[in-house]
C-alpha cells in the first residue's frame, strides 16, 4: 500500500511540474491567475512531497492489483489537483463544477460547464486544453516515458491505463514504447499547430486547438467552437481528428517508413470504412431533407461525423437541429469510437469488429455443430480469452450506460438528454443531444448528475475494467 502512495506522490510532483506552462501563459498575458497557478502548484507539489519523501523505496515489482489502484487513483488525484486552478481563480463557484471540467479535460471528453469562453483568462484556457492533451495519450504513460522508475511495474500500469484488447508493444521495453508513443503524439500535434498557424489562426489558439484535437478532447477556446473558423481550419482539424482516432502505433510505423502499414491494418480499414459510410449517409440525408449547398453540407457532415466518431466533440454546426436520422446515427458512432491505441474513446473499432466476427462464428457453429472455427483478424488468430475479455468489457460498458442513463432520467431529464449525456460522457465525446446538445452545455445539471457523469467519463477513459474492478468486492479481499 505504501508503494502505491509513493507512486501517487511522484505523479503529483509531476503534475505540479506541468503547471509551469499555464503559469507561463498567465505571466505572459499579465493575468492575475498567476497566483491561482502558484497556489495550485504549491498544494500539488506539497501533497506529492508528503507522500513521496517519507515512504522508503521498496524493491520488488508492482502487482496487477497495485497497478489498478495506482492508475485509478492517479487519475482521480490528477483530476482533483488539476481542478485547483479553476477553483482558486473563482472561475467556478462550486467545487463540483471545477472537478467536472477537469475530469472532462483529462478524460478528453470535452463536456463543459463553462459559458462565455471568450471572457475566460488565457492561462485557464491553456490549462484546460493542456490537461486534455496530457490525458489524451495518458498521464501514466507520460510518466512511464519520462520517469524511468518502473520496469515491470510500468508495464502493469500501461496495461491498466491503455487496456486495448492486445498489448501492442512497439519496443521490447515499456519505457521505450511509452516514449515513442509520446514522441509521435508530440510530433503530430506540432504539425497541426504549424498548419493551423499558417492558416491564420493565432499561435495561442493554434496550440490550444491542436492539444484538444490530438487528444480527441474537444475543448475549444471559442464559444462557437470551430464554427468560429473558416473552411481551411475546419478541413485541417477534420484531418487531424481522423489521425488522432487512429492507432498511434500505425503513425509511428509510417514515420519509420512502413507506408503500407495503414492499409494492412484491418482495424484501420474498418475505421475508415465506417467514417466514409457515416459521412455519406449524413451528407446524403441532410442534402435530401434539408437541401442547401452541397459543399457546405458535405463539410458539416464530414466534420461532425469525424468529430463524433473519434470522440472529439467539436462542433461547427448545431447538429441538435438535424433530422433525427442523422442524430441517431451520430449516437451510434459515439458508442463505436476510435481505434485501439488512439486517443479516442468509445468501445473502439477493433472490439466492435471482433464482436461481429464472434457472432458470425456462433452462427456458423449452429449450422455446423462439429466445425472447429477460429476468429481471425487478417492473418492473426484471436484467442478465445481475448474475445471473452471484449465481451465482458462491452457488457460492462452497456451496463454502466443503462444504469447511468436511468439515473439521469430519474433526475428529471427527458429520454434524449438522459441517453445522450451518458453516451457522450461514457464515450468521452463531449456534447450530446437535447439539453446537453452542441448549443447547450452541462452547467445546468444538478450535482448528483454531474457526479454520475464524472464516473462515466473516468470509466470510459480507462475502458471500464480498470475502474469497475475497484468496485468489485473480491478485489479488496486479501
Amino acid at each position: 500500500m505504501s508503494q502505491i502512495l509513493r507512486v501517487l506522490g511522484l505523479l503529483n510532483l509531476f503534475l505540479a511540474g506541468t503547471m509551469i506552462f499555464p503559469l507561463g501563459i498567465s505571466w505572459y498575458y499579465g493575468e492575475k491567475e498567476i497566483v491561482s497557478f502558484l497556489i495550485a502548484m504549491g498544494i500539488t507539489a506539497l501533497a506529492g512531497l508528503l507522500l513521496y519523501l517519507p515512504i522508503p523505496k521498496k524493491r520488488g515489482d508492482l502487482t496487477r492489483r497495485q497497478a489498478f489502484l495506482i492508475v485509478t487513483f492517479g487519475w482521480i488525484s490528477a483530476s482533483i489537483f488539476g481542478a485547483i486552478p479553476f477553483y482558486v481563480s473563482e472561475l467556478f463557484t462550486h467545487p463540483i463544477d471545477a472537478l467536472f471540467e477537469t475530469v472532462s479535460g483529462f478524460t478528453t471528453t470535452g463536456s463543459s460547464v463553462l459559458t462565455a469562453l471568450d471572457a475566460v483568462p488565457k492561462g485557464l484556457l491553456f490549462w484546460r486544453a493542456m490537461i486534455q492533451w496530457l490525458g489524451g495519450m495518458g498521464i501514466i504513460l507520460l510518466s512511464i516515458a519520462i520517469l524511468p522508475f518502473l520496469g515491470v511495474g510500468g508495464m502493469q500500469l500501461y496495461r491498466a491505463e491503455v487496456p486495448g484488447p492486445f498489448l501492442d508493444k512497439l519496443r521490447p521495453r515499456i519505457a521505450e514504447t511509452a516514449k515513442i508513443l509520446w514522441q509521435t503524439y508530440l510530433l503530430i500535434s506540432g504539425l497541426e499547430v504549424v498548419l493551423l498557424f499558417l492558416g491564420g489562426m493565432n499561435i495561442f489558439d493554434s496550440i490550444c486547438h491542436s492539444f484538444t484535437t490530438m487528444a480527441t478532447g474537444g475543448f475549444s477556446t471559442k464559444d462557437t467552437s470551430i464554427a468560429f473558423y473558416g473552411h481551411y481550419h475546419r478541413i485541417v482539424i477534420t484531418v487531424f481528428m481522423f489521425l488522432a482516432g487512429t492507432n498511434f502505433a500505425l503513425h509511428y510505423r509510417f514515420l519509420k517508413g512502413g507506408y503500407k502499414g495503414y492499409w494492412l491494418d484491418r482495424e484501420f480499414r474498418f475505421y475508415l470504412a465506417l467514417i466514409l459510410v457515416g459521412i455519406g449517409l449524413v451528407f446524403g440525408y441532410l442534402l435530401f431533407v434539408m437541401g442547401g449547398g452541397w459543399g457546405n453540407r458535405l463539410e458539416d457532415a464530414a466534420f461532425q461525423v469525424v468529430s463524433i466518431m473519434t470522440t472529439t466533440g467539436y462542433a461547427t454546426t448545431d447538429f441538435g437541429v438535424w433530422p433525427s436520422f442523422c442524430q441517431y446515427l451520430l449516437v451510434f458512432l459515439m458508442f463505436i469510437g476510435g481505434c485501439a491505441g488512439s486517443t479516442g474513446g468509445g468501445i473502439k473499432c477493433i472490439r466492435i469488429m471482433l464482436l461481429f466476427k464472434y457472432a458470425q462464428q456462433e452462427l456458423r457453429r449452429i449450422i455446423h455443430p462439429h466445425a472447429v472455427t477460429t476468429v481471425k483478424l487478417g492473418e492473426q488468430n484471436i484467442s478465445q480469452s481475448v474475445l471473452n475479455g471484449i465481451l465482458g468489457m462491452v457488457i460492462l460498458f452497456m451496463a454502466i450506460f443503462v444504469l447511468a442513463s436511468l439515473a439521469m432520467s430519474a433526475l428529471g431529464f427527458d429520454i434524449v438528454t438522459s441517453i445522450s449525456s451518458v453516451a457522450a460522457t461514457l464515450g468521452n465525446i463531449g456534447p450530446g443531444l437535447g439539453l446537453v446538445g452542441p448549443a447547450e452545455n452541462y452547467a445546468h445539471i444538478p450535482s448528483i448528475g454531474k457526479g454520475i457523469l464524472i464516473f462515466c467519463m473516468l470509466a470510459g477513459r480507462l475502458e471500464v475494467y480498470t475502474i469497475v474492478i475497484l468496485l468489485f468486492p473480491e478485489f479488496w479481499r486479501k
Partner: protein, 455 residues
C-alpha cells in the same frame, strides 16, 4: 542491445528476467500461449507467441537487428533449427543454444562455423555432471562453481553448530588462519545475501560463499568441514538417464565404483553394457528395501538425478534418513533451492540455474561479464577488466570507497592470482572478480564504464 530468446521455459524465462533488469531490449518467443502470457505479464520484455524456428516469427521479433539469439527450448532439435533459421535470415553476431544430447553438443561438424555456427553450446547435462563432480570432491560444499577458465573457484558452505569460526569477524579470520588464500565473498542469512565488510560476523546457520583458487579453497573449507571423514568411496546414484550415466562414467574414471539405480529395464541393460565397474540395480522410487539391501547407510554420497525434481527431493531426504552421509538432489526450478536446503538435503543442483549462469557469462555487458548469480539473484559475481580509464586503478582498495555491497574477491594479474586486501592496488590489465549486491550494480557499472570510448 537487442536479444532474442527462444523458449520461455525455466531457462529462457530466467535469462530474460535477468537481462530485462539490465535495460536490454529482449524479445521472448514461445509456442506455449500460457508461458507467453506469464512472460508478458511479469517481465518488461516483448513476448511473441509462435514458433522460434519460424521465419515469420523471427522476422517479427526483429531478427535483422538482433545481436544475440538464445535458443533455450527443451528440445535440442528445435534449438538447432532455430539457430539455423536465424542464421539464414540475418547475420546474428552471437548464437547460443541449449543442447542436451552430448552427441550433438560435442560435434563441431554440425555446430561449427560451416553449418549451424553456434557460438556457445550449453550442454546442461554435461554441466550438471561437472558440477556434481566438483561438489563431491569438495567436502561440505553445497555448491561449487568455477570461472575465469576454471582458475577461480567459488564454494558455498553452511556454517554448522560447533564450527570454530562462529562469532568471528571477517578480520579475525586472517589472524586465525594466517595462510588463508581465500576470501569470504558473501553470506546468505535469513533469505538475504550480505556482501560482508571486515566487521561482519559469521553466525550459526549462515551459508558462506568462499572465493579462491581451486587448489587453495580448502584452506578455509577444512576448518569449516564438519564431516569427520571426507573420503569419497561409496556412491549411489538414483536415476540412470544421461546425467546419472555420465556421472557414473566420470566416477569410474576416478576409481570410484558407484551403484546406480534405474527403474526401466531396457535402460538398465544399456547401463550394464556401457558401465563396466558400476553396479546397475533395477528398482524404483518406492523400493526402500532395495536401498537398505544395498547398504544405503554406508554411502558417502547419494545422488538423485531423475528428471523428476520432486521425486529427487523426496528420495534424497529418504536416503538421508536412512544414513547416507551426503545427499544430492537435482532440481530444475532455482526458486526451490533455499527451501530444499532447509528441509535437510545437503546439496541441491538446479539445472536451469546452471544454464542461466552459463548463458549470462557469455553475454557481456560492455566490459562486464556476469559470472555467477547468488541465490534469487540478490547478488552476483562479475568479472571486469580494469582499463586505463577506469576509476578502479592505481589506488589502494581501501581508498577506493567502493559502494556498499561491493567486494573485490580476486584479482588476476597475468598468470598470477592475487588475493586482495585493503592494501592491494589494481593496475590496468588486471581482471577483477567482484561480488556485487544487486542494489549496487548500477554504481559499479558506472565505475567501470569506459569514459573516452563511450563518447
Amino acid at each position: 542491445m537487442s536479444i532474442i530468446i527462444i523458449g520461455a521455459g525455466e531457462v529462457g524465462y530466467n535469462v530474460a528476467r535477468r537481462l530485462s533488469r539490465e535495460m536490454q531490449d529482449i524479445v521472448v518467443i514461445d509456442k506455449d500461449e500460457e508461458k507467453i502470457k506469464r512472460v508478458s505479464e511479469t517481465l518488461d520484455v516483448h513476448a511473441i507467441h509462435g514458433s522460434g524456428s519460424s521465419m515469420a516469427v523471427l522476422r517479427k521479433a526483429g531478427i535483422e537487428k538482433a545481436e544475440i539469439v538464445v535458443a533455450a527450448t527443451d528440445s535440442d532439435e528445435v534449438n538447432m533449427v532455430s539457430c539455423l533459421v536465424a542464421g539464414a535470415q540475418a547475420i546474428v553476431p552471437i548464437k547460443i543454444a541449449r543442447i542436451k544430447d552430448s552427441e550433438y553438443a560435442s560435434n563441431m561438424l554440425i555446430l561449427g562455423e560451416d553449418r549451424l555456427d553456434i557460438d556457445l553450446v550449453i550442454n546442461t547435462d554435461q554441466e550438471m555432471v561437472a558440477s556434481i563432480m566438483r561438489i563431491l570432491e569438495t567436502p561440505a560444499a553445497v555448491d561449487v562453481v568455477d570461472f575465469a577458465n576454471e582458475r577461480i573457484r567459488m564454494a558455498s558452505v553452511f556454517v554448522k553448530e560447533g564450527n570454530p569460526i562462529i562469532g568471528k569477524h571477517m578480520l579475525d579470520l586472517k589472524i586465525l588462519y594466517p595462510d588463508l588464500r581465500v576470501i569470504i565473498a558473501a553470506i546468505y542469512r535469513d533469505n538475504h545475501v550480505i556482501v560482508p565488510t571486515g566487521k561482519d560476523e559469521i553466525m550459526k546457520g549462515d551459508l558462506v560463499f568462499i572465493i579462491g583458487e581451486p587448489s587453495t579453497i580448502s584452506t578455509l573449507l577444512a576448518p569449516l568441514n564438519c564431516y569427520h571423514n571426507s573420503v569419497l568411496k561409496r556412491v549411489m546414484i538414483f536415476g540412470g538417464d544421461s546425467v546419472g550415466f555420465n556421472l557414473a562414467k566420470m566416477l569410474e574414471e576416478k576409481g570410484i565404483h558407484p551403484k546406480i539405480i534405474e527403474p526401466d529395464e531396457e535402460r538398465c541393460e544399456f547401463l550394464a553394457s556401457e558401465l563396466d565397474k558400476s553396479m546397475v540395480l533395477r528398482g524404483d522410487f518406492t523400493s526402500h528395501e532395495l536401498l537398505e539391501e544395498e547398504n544405503i547407510s554406508e554411502m558417502d554420497a547419494f545422488i538423485a538425478v531423475t528428471p523428476d525434481e520432486e521425486k529427487n527431493i523426496l528420495i534424497a531426504l529418504f536416503a538421508k534418513r536412512m544414513g547416507a552421509r551426503r545427499v544430492v538432489a537435482s532440481i530444475n526450478r532455482a526458486a526451490y533451492l533455499p527451501l530444499v536446503y532447509q528441509i535437510g538435503v545437503d546439496v541441491a543442483i538446479s539445472s536451469s540455474l546452471i544454464a542461466v549462469n552459463k548463458t549470462l557469462q557469455h553475454i557481456r555487458r560492455g566490459k562486464i561479464a556476469s559470472v555467477v548469480t547468488l541465490l534469487e539473484d540478490q547478488a552476483e559475481v562479475i568479472e571486469i577488466e580494469a582499463l586505463e580509464t577506469s576509476d578502479l586503478i592505481n589506488k589502494r582498495l581501501k581508498d577506493l570507497h567502493l559502494p556498499k555491497g561491493v567486494l573485490v574477491g580476486a584479482i588476476f594479474r597475468g598468470e598470477e592470482l592475487v588475493v586482495p586486501n585493503g592494501e592491494t592496488v589494481i593496475v590496468p590489465g588486471d581482471k577483477v572478480a567482484m561480488v556485487v549486491a544487486s542494489a549496487a550494480m548500477k554504481k559499479v557499472e558506472k565505475m567501470v564504464m569506459v569514459k573516452p570510448e563511450y563518447w
